[in-house]
């Protein structure tokens, strides 16, 4: 197996893990809003997994993700503990932090790699995760800053 496929397989497995994480969380909670967000997040991870698998199937297709704005909101939040009683906003914060972790991991791999092709691949994967993080950060901004008294 070449290096390209190895990296892609690792990325696919990461998405599968994330999918199972959210699917399990959705199954455990009775809260309708929490369940719906976990199901939505699991679906998202499934989409990411399928997207990455398409690169495995189509030989020669190169990873390419557009750069998105990074408002670094995840970086200012602590990772909440997963629980069936967690608040809706904490569920989004948790997902946002997980995307940040994945982004950082790929960025570190890119930095550590001396092979230009491998470096580019990790950079693209980091960009993909940053895109997911940005989307969740928009949801977080919608939900975290409450006016209620």
């Amino acid at each position: 197996m070449n290096e390209y496929r190895k990296i892609l397989l690792m990325a696919v497995n990461n998405e599968i893990e994330a999918y199972e994480f959210y699917e399990g969380a959705a199954a455990k909670t009775a809260n309708k809003a929490l369940k719906s967000i976990f199901v939505e997040l699991a679906d998202e991870e499934l989409k990411h997994q399928r997207l990455l698998e398409s690169f495995l199937v189509e030989e020669g297709k190169k990873l390419k993700f557009a750069e998105t704005a990074d408002y670094k909101i995840a970086e200012t939040v602590e990772l909440p503990r997963l629980s069936v009683q967690m608040s809706f906003v904490d569920a989004i914060a948790l997902a946002m932090k997980k995307e940040e972790e994945a982004m950082t991991m790929y960025r570190n791999f890119a930095e550590a790699s001396s092979d230009p092709e491998q470096k580019e691949m990790f950079t693209q994967l980091a960009r993909m995760e940053q895109g997911h993080k940005t989307r969740l950060e928009a949801l977080y901004t919608d939900t975290a800053f409450v006016e209620a008294w």
């Binding site: 929490l34 909101i73 809706f88 901004t141 939900t143 209620a148 008294w149």
Partner: protein, 537 residues
């Protein structure tokens, strides 16, 4: 606010003013927009004249915005829930509801559907006076619109059913899928230029800045650490409750800033008695207001033209205020007065300008964290803005509601606290006129404005004829709280049976007549409805 927080999880205006002309339809209910929010109203009028937005106005008085409306409906004061439930009844009956939005983003729909089933156009006509045919036209125009915005102000909130009214507006907008998109939303128009900012900063009995709850252990610890002092974890009280406690002798001292309750409070006799019973009253204001005249100590403050700072407007836009002229005499900035008092009390505050306080505030106010004076510039920015890289958030709830799923509530119609009867046969309602601002502390110092709008009571041609008065004649308006003699302004804008009085004028203070009945949740008084009689003065 309490109503929207229950429905969406957050009570702020959901959309921005710039997106106003992106609506297909705008429903104005309980907002005399051109009198109270003339800048925003001008944009709405232009959008209507340009053919971009069709306006629906529902108001007990035929307000000027009705002249720009495709449909106008006059409801009896205090019947908003019935009218909104009637609209929803028709929208569901005709299949105009947004099924996808309801399924994906809301909960509690079945209970709402069951409740509004009773509100047939004929029943709503009986309760509210809105003709069944007109209600059908409104429901069709609103229900079939691709994007519709809803605007309300104190005509919705200042009722004993204020929270019910607000929740009904949220129900309608969720039902039609008008949330989370440009040109849609539930848009409460704030009563003063910086109400939003005052609330954001924790000018409420139970929260620190950014609505962080007093009594929440983590929040308490955060602020104690941040300010380096031990803080009370006891929730305070609303102003309406505080006045009752002063009246009963339980409260001994008030410190009132930039507020003139001797004109703005409901049932003014009660408010005056309460203030006179205080052992110590401090008033900080820019003029010797009716309230300041009762004070033991008056602290002269600076006017908006004489100070720097920020205003957070109704759309959550934080805007810089630039000083134009120096303050006269001994007047000082509000923060300077506070600092002098704090230091007299043994603290050591050393702020030299408003910006330093703003920079400290944003460190403990997550929704303002990314706002700096430099970034605010001339245009301002919308909160939430969590860090200095974030562009701000003009439209809320695009992806999700704060509470996850929007919550429908089944809201039954309830009558106002005091209904017209044999002794007091007319509805009495209050509001504002364009030329005066709130209790007139500033605008009434301007003779030109006083010439344009002085004290008066608006009544219908029919009600005027019934007591044989003509325009300008003195009339005596009475409720169970008291009487006022003022000039009659006879107009077709008032329907038969409803009398309107602006509250700006101390010499004919409408709030001598209003009722001190409160919404049980928001504690807001029912300024918009009580019973009155009118006689030749």
């Amino acid at each position: 606010m309490a109503g929207l927080a229950a429905s969406f999880g957050s009570g702020a205006m959901t959309n921005d003013i710039a997106g106003l002309d992106k609506s297909d339809v705008a429903l104005i209910i309980g907002s005399d927009t051109s009198e109270c929010h003339p800048v925003l109203a001008a944009r709405l009028k232009k959008a209507a004249v340009d053919g971009k937005v069709k306006i629906i106005v529902i108001d007990p008085k035929r307000i000027k915005m009705a002249d720009f409306a495709t449909i106008y409906a006059c409801q009896r004061p205090g019947t908003d829930v019935a009218v909104l439930n009637g609209m929803m009844h028709l929208i569901i009956k005709n299949g105009w509801e947004d099924k996808k939005f309801i399924e994906e983003r809301t909960e509690g729909y079945e209970a709402l559907k069951e409740e509004v089933a009773k509100y047939t156009p004929e029943y709503v006509e009986k309760v509210s006076g809105v003709p069944a045919k007109t209600l059908e036209q409104i429901a069709e125009l609103f229900g079939r619109a691709e994007t519709a915005a809803l605007y309300y102000a104190m005509g919705i909130t200042q009722h004993t059913t204020g929270v019910d009214n607000v929740r009904s507006t949220a129900n309608l907008q969720m039902l039609c899928g008008n949330m989370g998109k440009v040109g849609g939303g539930v848009n409460p128009l704030r009563g003063q230029s910086n109400v939003q900012g005052a609330c954001d900063m924790g000018g409420l009995p139970n929260v620190f800045p950014a609505y962080q709850k007093i009594g929440d252990a983590a929040v308490q610890e955060k602020f104690e650490k941040f300010w380096g002092v031990k803080l009370s974890d006891k929730v305070g009280m609303t102003m309406t409750v505080a006045f009752d406690k002063a009246y009963n002798g339980e409260m001994k001292a008030f410190y009132i800033m930039g507020e003139n309750p001797m004109v703005s409070d409901p049932d003014l006799h009660h408010a005056e008695e309460a203030l006179k019973k205080l052992e110590f009253l401090v008033v900080q204001d820019i003029f010797l207001t009716e309230t300041a005249q009762l004070a033991h100590v008056v602290l002269p403050a600076t006017s908006p033209a004489e100070k720097e700072g920020t205003f957070s407007n109704t759309e959550r836009r934080v805007q810089l205020l630039f000083k134009a002229v120096n303050a006269p005499g001994q007047a000082k900035h509000d923060w300077e007065i506070h600092q002098l008092i704090a230091n007299k009390m043994g603290l050591n505050w050393n702020y030299t300008k408003a910006e330093e306080i703003f920079d400290e505030m944003r460190k403990c106010t997550p929704s303002y964290a990314g706002l700096t004076y430099k970034r605010l510039g001339f245009a301002g920015m919308h909160w939430p803005c969590p860090n200095e890289e974030h562009p701000g958030t003009p439209v809320l709830h695009i992806g999700k509601f704060t509470r996850g799923l929007g919550l429908f509530a089944a809201i039954p119609f309830k009558e106002p606290a005091e209904m017209p009867d044999k002794e007091y046969p007319l509805y009495f309602t209050t509001g504002r006129v364009l030329q005066q601002y709130h209790t007139g502390t500033m605008t009434r110092k301007t003779p030109g404005l006083n010439n344009l709008a002085g004290p008066h009571v608006m009544l219908s041609v029919e009600d005027a004829e019934a007591i044989c008065v003509k325009n300008g004649d003195k009339v005596k308006v009475s409720t169970r709280r008291g009487s006022i003699v003022t000039g009659a302004f006879i107009t077709k804008r008032c329907p038969k049976g409803t009398v309107f009085m602006p509250f700006h004028f101390a010499e004919a203070a409408a709030n001598k007549l209003t009722i001190n009945a409160l919404d049980p949740i928001a504690k807001i008084p029912e300024y918009k409805v009580c019973a009155c009689k009118i006689e030749k003065g």
